[in-house]
């Protein structure tokens, strides 16, 4: 009971699912809205994954779609090409879907490790460029690999992900992220974000903590990739382009970086917004871009920056307000000092 009180997301999200499910059964919600909710779910998982790196650890990954691509392709390879899950009985399908999803996550995590190991030792914006490059490299490799369809794209992936499974994985991801943030590892990450040198001095093995967070994040991104592949049933390397990575960055920062509620809200609202704006026809992305600027201008920390929904508040409390009001000031001074060193 106490556990449930502390991890209320494992009650509330299933409740929301039940509500949506009932509404769908009673034809109040049509497939279009369910489709948007599913897409939003995938985006929420991705944004939470990005939040682990950009929000909690203070690193800059701007090519996260690359990990999603790895997860999507590995899981599709697993469920379509190696095991052709489409022809199995439903119970077995579910098993293989879960296996494929985990395989996708592990695949992405391996790449996360390979990239994180050398890069995260460096300070500065190198992770940004390396992740950006990684996304492009992965796409180039997929393009010339005939097994996964090369430039033709991969079609006929079995439709195994459903609203139910997406909710399951969203719930697990939120649970993992919250507890990660609340654990010693998460505290270490927060310390690195707020002041890396100080954290180092306090005896935190900064490289290790950063790599851990990054690999976890890549794993989650891989899972999101698997959900995407098994929802959409079609993969093309260009889907995971740099623009896709930017989308997640936008969800995260407009929602509120560092905040789990913010990530959820940002991903949900900004996935739905372009659809709601459909009546604007060709002006819809103009409005979308404009609104984005307005959100950032009026709430530079994002819609939910520095805040959490009550049910997602940190369990141990106390540390919640760290950083968000003073952090930025401190950071800009820190960079000013660093500037002094590099400028001539």
């Amino acid at each position: 009971m106490n556990w449930l009180r502390k991890n209320s997301e494992v009650i509330i999200l299933p409740l929301i699912y039940v509500v949506i499910f009932l509404l769908q059964k009673n034809k109040i919600l049509n497939n279009y809205i369910i489709q948007i909710i599913m897409l939003a779910g995938v985006n929420i998982i991705m944004t939470l994954s990005l939040n682990l790196v950009n929000g909690m650890t203070g690193q800059n990954s701007i090519g996260h779609a690359g990990f999603m691509a790895v997860g999507a392709y590995v899981s599709a390879l697993f469920s379509k090409i190696i095991f052709s899950a489409a022809t199995m009985p439903p119970a077995l399908q579910t098993v293989f879907f879960l296996l494929a999803t985990i395989a996708g996550g592990i695949g992405a995590a391996i790449f996360g490790f390979l990239i994180g190991m050398p890069t995260l030792r460096l300070k500065g914006d190198y992770l940004a460029i390396v992740t950006l490059g990684f996304g492009e490299v992965i796409r180039s490799i997929i393009r010339i690999t005939p097994t996964v369809g090369a430039a033709r794209g991969l079609t006929g992936i079995p439709k195994l992900a459903s609203l139910f499974w997406i909710f399951v994985f969203v719930t697990i991801t939120i649970y993992v992220c919250r507890n990660y943030m609340d654990s010693a590892y998460g505290r270490g990450c927060l310390a690195i974000r707020d002041n890396e040198v100080a954290a180092d001095t306090m005896g935190i093995n900064t490289s290790k903590y950063k790599v851990q967070a990054f690999v976890t994040s890549a794993f989650i991104a891989g899972i999101a990739g698997s959900m995407y592949a098994h929802t959409l049933r079609y993969l093309h390397p260009d889907v995971f382009s740099y623009t896709k990575s930017t989308d997640f960055l936008v969800y995260l920062y407009a929602g509120g970086v560092g905040s789990i509620s913010g990530s959820i809200l940002g991903a949900f609202v900004l996935t739905a917004l372009p659809e709601i704006l459909r009546f604007m026809n060709e002006w819809r992305l103009v409005i979308y871009g404009g609104l984005l600027v307005v959100i950032i201008l009026f709430r530079p920390v994002g819609m939910f920056g520095g805040k959490e929904f009550a049910f997602l508040k940190l369990k141990t409390g106390g540390i919640r307000h760290i950083g968000f009001s003073n952090l930025f000031q401190r950071k800009s001074k820190k960079t000013a000092v660093a500037n002094e060193e590099i400028s001539q």
């Binding site: 300070k123 103009v286 930025f328 660093a338």
Partner: protein
């Protein structure tokens, strides 16, 4: 060997454009530490500005070099003012926020401009042909084929870079820029008008993007509203490779990007894009501060 030199020439031609764009990037980044995702869109605006000036005032004429230069400078200043305006509206309020907030604002600006240009009727989604500013002459030096326009572009790029280097190193505003990039607060206390400096930086940065847009469009004469998107990224990487904040580094990085891209495309075109990124990443891992950058010393 002949082929190698020929490819080198092509690489330098492409690199000169990356270099020009990277300078603007590195200046903005050096002073306000902001990844300006909309920088590539300034390039797009610049080349459209040239297109409209030429089609309004000099329709169907072969432009002489003098007029061409004038047109380029005019569109550079138009774009420069747009750049200053964008900074005032969208970036300035975020100046004391983490850099990434202004990066998100820049993404918004970029989305807005591209789609706005596409939606307004007189620009629209149709690709446009860029007017030939200079008549091209092909000639051979031994077996190497050279194009006059492209050589002019390389030379002009180098001239512009030198002028800029002079401005930054020898003039008052340049000194103020360097001061502001060291420490905004301290230089403000020393009587530097930081707002003015940042505006000037954006003016120069956007203007340079417009100039590179004009050169770019002269070499690759098809205008679309999305033309700047990936170019901006390449310029960003070039700036980092060279050592962020360093103008000479940006130039070097730009040329290296261009040469690597062409060389690898020639050997194995299927994977060229990926491999050129791998090479850049390797350079960066070996020399994290960039080729000309000085190592950062971190203080608490």
């Amino acid at each position: 060997m002949e082929k190698f030199i020929q490819l080198l020439v092509y690489g330098l031609q492409l690199g000169s454009i990356y270099a020009l764009l990277a300078i603007g990037y590195t200046m903005v980044f050096g002073i306000i530490r902001m990844i300006n995702m909309a920088h590539g869109d300034f390039l797009m605006m610049g080349s459209y500005a040239v297109f409209f000036i030429v089609s309004l005032f000099f329709a169907d004429q072969m432009l002489g070099p003098a007029i061409a230069l004038f047109v380029i400078l005019a569109s550079a200043s138009i774009t420069g003012f747009i750049g200053v305006g964008v900074e005032r509206i969208a970036y300035k309020p975020l100046r004391n926020r983490p850099k990434i907030s202004s990066m998100i604002a820049a993404i918004g600006v970029s989305l807005f401009t591209q789609n706005f240009f596409r939606a307004i009727p007189f620009i629209g989604p149709n690709p446009r042909t860029f007017p030939k500013l200079l008549k091209d002459v092909l000639f051979f030096v031994g077996p190497i084929q050279l194009s006059l326009v492209r050589i002019v572009v390389i030379i002009l790029s180098i001239v512009i870079m030198s002028v800029l280097y002079f401005i930054i190193m020898k003039t008052t505003i340049g000194m103020e820029m360097r001061a502001a990039s060291c420490d905004k607060d301290a230089s403000s206390l020393m009587g530097v008008n930081v707002n003015r400096v940042i505006s000037a930086t954006f003016f120069i940065g956007a203007g340079l993007a417009a100039i590179s847009g004009a050169f770019y469009a002269n070499n690759y004469p098809v205008l679309t509203v999305t033309m700047g998107a990936t170019l901006g990224n390449k310029a960003f990487i070039a700036a980092v490779i060279g050592g962020i904040g360093d103008i000479r580094g940006a130039v070097l990085g730009g040329f290296i990007m261009g040469v690597i891209e062409i060389m690898i495309s020639s050997v194995y075109s299927e994977l060229a894009y990926g491999i050129s990124f791998v090479v850049l990443i390797i350079i960066l891992l070996l020399k994290p501060e960039g080729l000309l950058g000085k190592p950062m010393i971190e203080k608490v």
